[in-house]
């Protein structure tokens, strides 16, 4: 099934009809089901959604980080005119090494504990974009003046990410750094090869709120100074609102809504987006929704129509039959929900407040739905 997605102008990366399944003893888990998305040059785009909705699998398919099998990946991923899925591993690594960088969710596991920060980052600076250097070339570069130059570059980058005491940090091991410092080191590493596209998975969300805040501020500056296009992944809608130009909301392995950031938060349309926004505790002291009943779909046997139907307060028989279309609702704005069909009068479309009221005090007690 191909869905029309409101595409970015002048896209750097487009993902079309991405499908990812995982083979297992119990059958094929159809996790990603026809995802379309795009990132324009210089654009900051977020994929937002709760645990298990498929954000990381989407990111990993773009960066070829899934083992196939058990994963089965299909669709089209185009980066600056080049179709990525059909490239050989070697060709892909070259494109990736030179033009894309990833900052991971877990700063501890992505740094090697046995080398100093200086050694690791200097290696990235020297070999980052070029992983298949011969042995001779490797030793030539590693023990020549080029090494010193690379070290200088790393130091400069550490200063740019506002690492405290960068000279000392160069000689420290990852375990000697705080979580915030490790996150800075990883950001520095990601920028060393001057990428065009930065992919950031839950950056800083494991950190304390004041440190997370510093990291987001830093990231905003770096995006500006380095002219980066960014794909951010987060479960925190507030973060999406703070940093991105455009947001994709993901649910059950599908994009259910997309819009420019302001539009999405001022006028959220999909019942899931609305429920999610209504569940976030509010500083204004307004009553918080009591959450969305039920849990994310079982990917081995997903609901046949709209994957949100079992949890949606507005679901009808129609929703359970076929997957809804992605309806276009303005520039770069789309909603995958039957309520946004032209034929449905606007008055039947729920507001966040309505959805909130559906979720505020339980009419009867639910059983086991988290």
């Amino acid at each position: 099934m191909r869905l029309d997605e409101p595409v970015a102008e002048n896209p750097l990366l487009t993902v079309e009809d991405l499908e990812v399944g995982f083979e297992s003893f119990d059958g094929l888990a159809e996790v990603i089901d026809g995802v379309n998305l795009s990132i324009g040059k210089g654009e900051v785009v977020t994929i937002a959604g709760e645990t298990g909705c498929g954000k990381s699998v989407t990111m990993k398919s773009i960066l070829r980080l899934l083992n196939q099998p058990p994963a089965r990946v299909s669709g089209e991923i185009t980066f600056d005119g080049t179709e990525l899925l059909s490239l050989s591993d070697r060709e892909f690594e070259r494109v990736k090494g030179q033009r894309m960088s990833l900052v991971f969710q877990d700063p501890m596991s992505s740094l090697n504990p046995t080398f100093t920060i200086g050694e690791q980052l200097t290696d990235t600076a020297q070999f980052g974009g070029d992983s298949d250097t011969g042995v001779v070339e490797f030793f030539r570069r590693r023990f020549s003046g080029e090494r010193d130059e690379a070290r200088e570059r790393v130091l400069e980058m550490l200063r740019e990410v506002q690492m405290p005491d960068p000279e000392n940090i160069m000689d420290s091991y990852p375990s000697q750094l705080s979580g915030g410092m490790r996150q800075r080191a990883l950001i520095a590493q990601a920028l060393l090869n001057e990428p065009d596209l930065l992919i950031a998975d839950e950056i800083g969300t494991a950190l304390d709120v004041t440190i997370h805040d510093q990291i987001l501020d830093l990231l905003k500056d770096l995006i500006e100074n380095h002219d980066l296009s960014v794909l951010m992944i987060t479960h925190n809608l507030g973060v999406a609102r703070q940093v991105s130009d455009r947001v994709y909301v993901m649910y059950g392995g599908r994009i259910v809504e997309t819009a420019p950031t302001e539009e999405l938060f001022e006028n959220p349309k999909h019942p899931y987006t609305q429920g999610l926004i209504a569940s976030i505790p509010r500083l204004t002291g307004d009553e918080m929704a009591t959450g969305i009943d039920g849990s994310i779909p079982e990917y081995l046997d997903p609901p046949p129509g709209c994957r949100f139907a079992p949890r949606c307060p507005y679901a009808t028989a129609e929703c359970e039959e076929a997957r809804p279309e992605m309806y276009e609702r303005g520039p770069q704005t789309g909603v995958e929900c039957v309520l946004y069909d032209e034929a449905v009068p606007a008055s039947e479309r729920p507001t966040v407040e309505e959805t909130r009221s559906h979720m505020t005090r339980r009419p009867g007690k639910q059983t086991g739905g988290d």
Partner: protein, 356 residues
């Protein structure tokens, strides 16, 4: 029930120093001051939220109250009885009146036991006869809105939110009066978190429970807690009615915490104090800064802040704050007294909170 007027829990100047041993003979060379003079009390049926970033000592406060670790100073009184460093006999009695729920819903359940068996353990310990066990477990499950199908399930078959419900049910098995909730929703998604909070509210209304609710997420307690205490490096920096702490956060650290919350509406944005990212990171509790322990990160710090320790004093009969800005004696120390010092905001409107 010695004194009816005394709050259910009274914590006074609580201290927990962990010794740091070094050298060949493992002499105590230093201390981690995890909790360094914490005082608060909670009235029966009310909720106190204890907020703070990682390492501020929140969990240690809870663990000391319930006797999982000894206090090195101060006192804890529960229902009029001094339970500081409780005896085994006291602890045994206490366990049926005070229970704790932890952050990680998975590690607190035995993976090889069905939910039914896990919940039966505390009931058996209380002497519930075998013939009644099943019925009582089903009752407990119902209280946390799980049906009797869960009797036979194993923890790995449950989602995070469902597991946390089971943990709450287990804590309720002994019919406690006080629940110490240590970040019970931090590992959960927001839509699940909202359901657990609603459940906790219902349980409190139904059974008159008293809560100590620990979290690093300030926005979560806005409607949930009667009082809020903000902790930094082992000390409470601000404590007062939750509404006050939100509408007029006085301590620079409370302000920073509030302003760092990523929100989803402009309306909420207006509730945040001016955005001032903090410098640096939280220092080690082994090496607490002199004077005000927040001075290394405080945007308003002056020389006086690193020299003298601020006292914890009530401001305008409202919340208590530990900061020189609110002390007349230091008025001269701040040449340009930040407007944060204006505690009595006459105008209650949102606008007054926009610019500190």
């Amino acid at each position: 029930m010695t004194d009816v007027s005394e709050p259910l829990l009274v914590v006074d100047d609580l201290e927990k120093y962990f010794p740091v041993k070094s050298g060949i003979i493992k002499r105590t060379s230093d201390h981690v001051k995890a909790v360094d003079g914490v005082s608060f009390d909670i009235e029966r049926g009310e909720t106190l939220a204890l907020i703070g970033e990682s390492g501020s000592g929140k969990s240690t406060v809870a663990r000391t109250i319930i006797g999982l670790t000894g206090a090195t100073g101060g006192t804890v009184r529960f229902d009029g009885e001094d339970i500081t460093n409780a005896t085994d006999e006291q602890l045994a009695r206490l366990r049926s009146r005070v229970q704790m729920v932890f952050q990680d819903p998975t590690s607190s359940l035995n993976p090889r036991r069905t939910i039914g068996k896990s919940l039966a353990v505390p009931l058996k310990a209380r002497g519930v006869p075998k013939s009644d066990l099943r019925e009582r477990v089903v009752d407990l499950l119902e209280r946390v809105e799980l049906n009797d199908e869960y009797w036979n399930k194993y923890p790995h078959e449950l989602s995070g939110g469902q597991k946390q419900r089971v943990n709450i049910a287990r804590a309720l098995a002994v019919e406690p009066e006080l629940l110490l909730l240590d970040e019970p929703t931090s590992a959960l998604d927001v839509s699940v978190q909202a359901k657990i909070i609603a459940l906790l509210e219902d349980l409190q209304a139904e059974f008159g429970l008293t809560y100590l609710f620990i979290t690093h997420d300030l926005s979560l307690v806005r409607n949930f807690a009667d009082e809020t205490a903000v902790m930094y490096l082992g000390e409470i920096q601000e404590r007062g009615p939750t509404q006050e702490v939100f509408q007029r956060p006085r301590h620079p650290y409370s302000r920073a915490l509030l302003s760092a919350i990523p929100v989803t509406t402009d309306e909420e944005e207006a509730y945040k104090p001016r955005h001032e990212p903090l410098r640096g990171e939280i220092p080690s509790p082994r090496d607490v800064p002199t004077g005000c322990r927040f001075h290394t990160r405080c945007p308003y710090a002056t020389d006086a802040c690193s020299a003298d320790e601020p006292q914890f004093v009530a401001v305008d009969a409202g919340p208590s704050v530990r900061c020189h800005i609110y002390d007349e004696a230091y008025a001269d120390a701040f040449d340009d007294v930040p407007e944060v010092a204006v505690a009595a905001v006459a105008d209650e409107t949102v606008a007054s909170n926009q610019e500190p």
